[in-house]
């Protein structure tokens, strides 16, 4: 695009639009700024003019920011998109990045933040000059890792699966390290690859990261894929017993692995189908506990639906003797009993470690 960059600013508040316009005009690239106060107007403007960058608010009446972004990303793949919002919700951030936004920014509230915001805008504008394709597509983690390695990239892949966060360090196309909770190296890498869904972000490379993975990418991917296939075959019941590999036969179930997590007092995993029996460990009275867990989870989820306050993320219960956490792990509902005296951080770590055994 010849000439100065063009920025389309979308916010339903006139005052904010005016202010941003003035602030963005101070950028060294002297961008041409157009404003609009609704998603419909923004789409109309994009039809008639070419823009370098679109900065959009998320919470707007009628057509909200995410709706606008999904349309813009599909119709105008070249435009850079930046979201600026007062919403400090990890779910919104993940959804926005999944829609292909280039930058998610919390609305600045201080002079320092404003300066950083302008630097962020400047950086996105500079990136426009770089060539390359982009899009929104669901790819498996294996595909993503292969792509990064084949293109000899240096990056840190941040992968998010619900509350779990993992990182894979890639340097000049070689796997350097992986981290998932307290597990690192090859074991972490293989565990991460068993995740079935999630989001990923490319973070700047960390060349100083100590190398803990020395196997080749292809070898590790092959091992991981084999492990996934074997687990799937066992889960489906399609693997003939005589063909089950010795290693697979000795592999522990998520329940057995969860039982070993430090801080776990008891555990129950309830299938979505209430007709199926729950799996449990360390539970003295499974039936009333299963009934309580299902009723409580369903009751509060219905309440969430009635009041439009989002999904029930977790339920924590405390008594003098016990702590218990209810949360979803894929299709299952987990009821995790926790040892007494755990701090808030230890409690969260225990829950995350248990969850990691079930989401893979």
């Amino acid at each position: 695009m010849p000439g100065p960059p063009k920025i389309l600013l979308l916010d339903d508040e006139e005052d904010a639009l005016e202010l941003y316009q003035q602030i963005l005009a101070t950028l060294p690239s002297k961008p041409e700024i157009r404003t609009c106060d609704s998603g419909t107007k923004a789409l109309a403007l994009l039809e008639s003019e070419e823009f370098t960058l679109m900065i959009s608010d998320l919470n707007m009446p009628k057509m909200d920011g995410l709706q606008v972004l999904s349309i813009v990303r599909r119709k105008y793949p070249n435009i850079k998109i930046m979201v600026m919002t007062a919403v400090v919700d990890e779910q919104f951030r993940a959804r926005a990045y999944a829609l292909g936004v280039d930058l998610f920014w919390q609305k600045p509230s201080s002079e320092q933040e404003m300066k950083l915001f302008l630097e962020g805008v400047d950086s996105v504008l500079q990136r426009y000059e770089q060539s390359g394709f982009r899009g929104v597509q669901s790819k498996s983690l294996v595909d993503i890792v292969q792509l990064e390695c084949l293109s000899q990239s240096s990056t840190v892949l941040k992968i998010t699966n619900g509350v779990l966060v993992a990182r894979i360090w890639i340097q000049n196309g070689e796997l350097v390290d992986a981290e998932m909770g307290d597990i690192t190296g090859e074991e972490a890498f293989k565990r991460i690859l068993t995740w079935k869904a999630g989001n990923f972000e490319n973070l700047p490379a960390e060349p100083t990261r100590e190398r803990k993975i020395f196997n080749t990418v292809d070898g590790l991917l092959l091992d991981a894929m084999q492990m996934i296939d074997e687990n799937q075959a066992i889960a489906d019941g399609t693997a003939p017993k005589e063909e089950v590999h010795e290693e697979a036969a000795s592999r522990q179930t998520p329940l057995q692995m969860s039982a070993k997590v430090k801080g776990v007092d008891f555990l129950m995993a309830l299938p979505a189908d209430s007709a199926k029996p729950p799996e449990f460990w360390g539970v003295e009275n499974p039936e009333p506990l299963a009934k309580w867990a299902r009723q409580t989870w369903q009751g509060f989820n219905q309440l969430g639906d009635q009041f439009v306050c989002g999904k029930c993320v977790a339920i924590d219960g405390r008594s003098l003797r016990r702590q218990v956490a209810l949360l979803a792990a894929g299709e299952r509902l987990l009821c995790i009993g926790l040892e007494r005296g755990l701090s808030q951080e230890q409690r969260q770590e225990t829950v995350n470690n248990v969850l990691a055994k079930w989401v893979s």
């Binding site: 998320l58 707007m60 009446p61 509230s109 506990l289 009934k291 989002g310």
Partner: protein, 100 residues
């Protein structure tokens, strides 16, 4: 940089908004005291109370005897403390409608 106050938006339109506040109920679900605004209908309060009391009751049967339940939603946190068969319930909404 007072001008930046402009960045903080007023509440956007919402289908229904749960207010922040605290209330206590007896074992039958009758409200004993409340800091909720009067505009918040009693039927809605009853809808919140029902799963809370049921959960405390069910927990006793499962020999959990919980004294506190914290329910985390994307846009709301409910904290309920057991109170001699009843409960003290704290509502703390958060999320986009509160923050923008």
């Amino acid at each position: 940089m007072g001008i930046l106050d402009l960045f903080s938006k007023k509440d956007g339109p919402a289908a229904f908004e749960i207010p922040a506040g605290t209330f206590t109920v007896d074992r039958h679900g009758n409200v004993l005291s409340s800091t909720l605004p009067q505009s918040f209908p009693p039927e809605c309060v009853a809808q919140i109370v029902k799963p809370v009391l049921e959960s405390f009751h069910g927990a006793k049967k499962a020999q959990l005897a919980l004294t506190e339940i914290v329910i985390q939603y994307s846009a709301l946190k409910i904290t309920a403390r057991e109170l001699r068969g009843g409960a003290m319930i704290f509502l703390a909404p958060h999320g986009p409608q509160r923050q923008t």
